[in-house]
């Protein structure tokens, strides 16, 4: 059996009266991109700090790459890389000097540093600008350089805390492309904190959802969609009158129906619900159908549904 890259058991961290991480039990297999999803202040950054051994847990325990976070933090940091909330680049130094410093920190030989800096900067398209001071660069370029820095010493595990936050859509997409390519090539395990759900959907093999320090669920985006999100359908055409909508809402195989921008959006009651009888009912009610498409709930739908469910449970308690 392959050992988990990260294993936590009831990991808890309090800051005074506030419980930032609440009995987190989690297992991240090696070689995957794991998305840790949650709103701002959900406990994602505190979790990274705990896993890097930078903060002591209040209770519970965690093992990262087989090392205990309480007593072997330095061994974890030796074998991992981290891009935290900020890029952490020395803005007065050039891109090359930044990477060279961290190459020395991780004890790469001069030849190794030179080759690796060239390889990574070429991959992210910054090699020609390596002599420039980083302070004058755009945030997107800095984030690319920061990712190159994180991968410089070929770590077994990397922690990324909101790497595309604050980037414009083009820069964010470029960074995601680079990240995806580099991670695939290097075969590294990634623990990705994000609240960007399309990003998690595209990059992550597994995701965990956290709210107020509590882990609500873990699984692959597909499995979560199957388990939590209801199947959906889009119908294009005309004649989606209030009467037709009322007829649809009365059906057992439909959970909700609404018209948005001329499209009929249906949320089906469960995975077994069939589209054919619904189309027939629509046609019989006088609607003209041009196209119908069945699909899954997005990760965003799953996330919002989980948040809503947890909030309702909290209110009930």
């Amino acid at each position: 059996m392959t050992e988990a890259a990260i294993r936590t058991t009831n990991l808890t961290r309090d800051f005074g009266a506030v419980r930032a991480v609440d009995a987190l039990t989690l297992e991240v297999p090696p070689g995957i991109i794991f998305g840790f999803l949650g709103a701002n202040g959900a406990g994602k950054t505190t979790t990274i700090n705990l896993l890097l051994g930078l903060l002591e847990p209040t209770s519970g325990q965690a093992q990262v790459l087989g090392f205990d976070t309480r007593s072997q933090g330095s061994a974890i940091r030796e074998r991992s890389g981290a891009l935290l909330e900020f890029s952490g680049l020395y803005e007065r130094l050039t891109a090359e000097d930044n990477l060279d410093f961290y190459g020395r920190v991780w004890r790469l030989s001069a030849a190794e540093r030179q080759a690796r800096i060239k390889e990574l900067l070429t991959h992210v398209g910054l090699y020609d600008r390596r002599k420039e001071r980083v302070g004058a660069w755009s945030r997107g370029m800095k984030q690319k350089l920061a990712i190159a820095r994180v991968l410089l010493h070929r770590p077994a595990l990397i922690f990324l805390d909101e790497p595309t936050a604050g980037l414009d859509p083009v820069a964010a997409a470029a960074l995601r492309d680079d990240l995806e390519g580099l991670v695939a090539r290097e075969g590294v395990t990634v623990f990705l904190n994000t609240h960007n759900l399309p990003e998690a959907e595209r990059l992550c093999q597994q995701v965990g959802v956290i709210r107020s320090g509590k882990l609500l669920t873990v699984g692959s985006p597909d499995a979560l969609r199957q388990r939590i999100g209801r199947p959906q359908a889009e119908v294009f055409g005309d004649g989606f009158t209030p009467e037709v909508l009322a007829l649809l809402r009365a059906r057992r195989d439909i959970a909700s129906a609404q018209v948005e921008n001329g499209r009929l959006l249906l949320e089906l009651a469960d995975q077994q619900a069939k589209m054919a009888p619904i189309i027939t009912a629509l046609v019989e009610a006088g609607a003209q159908i041009e196209e119908a498409r069945r699909g899954q709930a997005s990760l965003e739908d799953v996330f919002l549904s989980l948040m809503e469910e947890d909030r309702a449970q909290e209110v009930a308690r």
Binding site: G88, F101, Y102, R104, V105
Partner: protein
């Protein structure tokens, strides 16, 4: 660990050079003014007499290292915190001591080099002074240059230790610089103020003791006191260097 300390020292030096010697540049301006007065005006006026005067010992051994260092050392942790580079450094494999000693080591080397360069500049200018037109080249007595180097090293170590301690706790570089400046002024003026409030008899006794004392012995005691305070402050800084606290700050 030695290699890690060298790595941090190298980074600090690159930042000193790239940043013009410190966070705001004010310290560099003050140091340039001091160098201008101490290394050009005084030696031009004094000529060879500067080699036997106590001025280089005070200026190059004590003042120059302090003024040069107070800006860069205030920036050491507070500046990294302000520029959001500290948490990445703490998340690296570097040990606490490598980070702390690397920063202190870079500062000590920088301050000592400034003191030595100041003394050498004075020697060059003193030899070029019109007052020495008819005499040959001269230099400091060996004892003086040893004292200048030793004091510059100790003063740099003291400034670096107290600076790191202040910078670890300060929210901003500016706050750290202010604390260091006020601390220095208190340190310089406190003995004079205390002396003034002492009874006349005690004042006379102290003056008599100082006049009668062997200058070498006074210097050694002073150097020993500088070293003891610097080491004590460094030990406190080591105890206060806690990753968890720095991450949360």
């Amino acid at each position: 660990m030695i290699a890690d300390i060298w790595t941090v020292m190298g980074k600090e030096w690159r930042e000193y050079v790239a940043g013009g010697g410190g966070g705001s540049g004010r310290g560099v301006i003050a140091a340039l003014l001091l160098i201008g007065i101490a290394s050009i005006l005084w030696p031009l006026q004094m000529g060879r007499a500067i080699f036997t005067s106590p001025t280089p010992i005070i200026v190059d051994g004590l003042l120059l290292p302090y003024i040069i260092l107070q800006t860069v050392i205030a920036d050491s942790f507070a500046g990294e915190r302000e520029r959001h580079t500290l948490e990445t450094l703490l998340a690296s494999r570097l040990s606490d001591r490598a980070i702390l000693f690397g920063k202190v080591g870079a500062a000590v080397a920088y301050g000592s080099a400034a003191g030595l360069i100041g003394a050498l500049a004075q020697a060059v200018v003193a030899n070029l002074s019109p007052k020495n037109a008819d005499v040959g080249l001269a230099f400091y007595p060996v004892g003086s240059i040893v004292v200048i180097i030793a004091l510059a090293l100790l003063m740099s170590l003291l400034t670096a230790s107290v600076g790191c301690l202040v910078s670890l706790r300060a929210a901003t570089t500016r706050q750290a610089q202010l604390s260091l400046t006020f601390g220095f002024l208190a340190l310089v003026f406190a003995p004079f103020i205390i002396f003034q409030v002492l009874p006349r008899q005690t004042q006379n006794a102290i003056l008599d003791a100082l006049n009668a004392a062997d200058p070498t012995r006074v210097l050694l005691i002073f150097a020993g006191a500088l070293l003891a305070v610097a080491v004590a402050l460094l030990v406190i800084a080591m105890a206060r260097f806690q990753r968890a606290r720095l991450i949360l700050s």
